[in-house]
Amino acid sequence: MAQTSMLAMILAGGRGSRLHELTKKVAKPAVAYGGKYRIIDFPLSNCANSGIDIVGVLTQYESVLLNSYVAAGGRWGLDTKDSGVFVLTPREKADCGLDVYRGTADAISQNIDFIDAYDPEYILVLSGDHIYKMNYDKMLSFHKEMGADATIAVRGVPMKEASRFGIMNTDDNRRIIEFEEKPEKPKSNLASMGIYIFTWKTMRKLLIEDMKNPDSSHDFGKDIIPVMLNGDKKLYAYEFSGYWKDVGTIDSLWEANMDLLDSDNELNLDDTSWKIYTEDTGIIPQYIASSAKIDGAYINQGAHIGGEVSRSVIFSNVKIAPGAKVIDSVLMPGAIVEEGATVTRALVAENIRIGKNAKVGNKKSEEILLVAKNVKGED
């Protein structure tokens, strides 16, 4: 029997075009992060740790890698008798053709049959591209306690930045009385995190109505939440205060990696009571050669360090040759830095080779360089 009666749906359909070449062959939630993980490991591990047994992953864009990655639910322990991770793509149906998901709400609507098969009391709707650790079971307790129709996770942002976010205005009991998308004059600093718990019975009705509405863009933020607020539904804000990062751009992805170098970083990946599970291979430990020099680094098993590494995050199968230098950078799985090469303030994509003596990146550049193509060496 499930510990909670809540089923999770992860929206993983984003093209993530602001991540440029990183998402050309890989959906955004499958992008590598933190020396070892893929972004989607975070919501999936949170689900597993929160006692959620059934997770639907909604995807439509270039999803071979994401698909086969999440389909192996065993990575998160979600392959027991009654648990599973299911990849849900748009489907051809008896009464309608094949169509893409038209919006976040439509993605759920198109999978009402899937949800109904598990008959949950609540559904949790998550985004597949945030880095954070959160106990959804606690959020559910709050939802139940409040007798809410919808609970939206929010976090406090600096007031002066609030106009960049979707802001929830609440009364003293945390009930949401107004939702403003990027308000010019924000009345509160509680920004929506795109994490929702809905009482399924209520939401199911709203989704069916929304599907019929020709004027709707079928989006939770733009359409469903306003309809709920205009009706007499009970929406509550659940405040979250831990580490949270949207890694939608190269700079923010790089920053989120660099955060791990702090000795007291808030994400605390080595907390064994809330592990982030991922593909973990039987590769050899990290090999640090006699010629290596490491000054601040976050390094995964299977990396081979022959050169110098400063303030960098190094994934597995990365090879840094003797005499090479890697500074303030992120090297994704299988990246190779040959002898004499220098990598500075860069994010090197999977399996990219930086040739002999090549210089890549610039200490003074404001933006982080994405290296998604092999760089030729010089003799």
Partner: protein, 372 residues
Amino acid sequence: MANKAFGVINSAANYIRVEGLHDYRPIGAFSFLGRFRVIDFPISNMSNSGINRIHVYLNSRPRSIVEHIGDGRHYNINSKRGNIQLLFTQNNGHSSIYNTDINAYLENLEQIERMPQDYVIVAPSYMIYKQDYQKLLDEHVASGTDITLLYHKVDQAKEYYRACNVVTLNKQKGVQSLERNMGTAKEKLISMDTYVMSKEIFVDLIKKAKKESSAYSLADMIALACETLDVRGYQHKGFFAAITSLDDYYRANMEMLEYATAMDFFTSDWPFYTKTTDACPTQYFHGASVTNSMVCNAGLIEGTVENSIIGRNVHIGKGAVVRNSIILSYADIGDGVYIENAVVDKWVEVKKIKKIVSESVTPTYVKRNDKL
């Protein structure tokens, strides 16, 4: 694949004893490179050779191996079509003379006789090497021999491999004798305690042993069988370690710090599988200095590490120096501590004693859970 075999993985004989580590787990459960367990190697060899029915014999303290093997999915064994079966013995006083492989087989003879395969590959849980058993089996069948035995030529048989058997071969690779290594010469052919034979001969040897002596091992029976059966040697090449003493254990780990040795042994076409733990990457702080070492995940490295193996979730404090040592998982080496030539077991905390050094060739062993 015309010839099919099932696998048998065996525990170390009752006279084999590795100081310290062995008090807490069988040799198969010993950590190798801080990441693997010794038994991962024979199981992976079998899995990679297409053997998907494997019997693992356990005697004393089976918990760690049972947990490690689980249902064997991580060894890439299809759990429906094949399986890794854990077999226990009642007779589990480790050093009892009755605690032999033969007695373990006898207790589980029903399981053995029920196996549908025609051949058996017997391999030890206390040796580390890479071998394609399918190739060995094909060779065995093609040669028409009764028993094929794997051996390795070594040149340090005086210092190491002291609890192993040595073989002498005739010109045709026929085994003339199989007996304990007395350390009489540097060069010896060490038996790798790995055999291929038909299930029929295997069962026959087990049943005969019962009549011969209640304390006989399979190796003893094969030694006897040399007189009546066609027993041949098959030479193994490449990395080989027999974990039969603390010296052998230490040396096996240290040899892997030679990068060429490690790269030759760990190749993508012959993966060694292990149970993984979802440990996060290792953090190297400003001021840390690590050279010629293998470091496992979830470490916090603030001090100096040289020529060492660092297990999972290990903390090396500020100003601490770890040299020529093996530090197993969850050990905490406090600030300013100096460790040289030591094997530090799991969950050890070194805070108050500031220096641990072994002057001899044999490393110092620090006991599991100790607080120093």
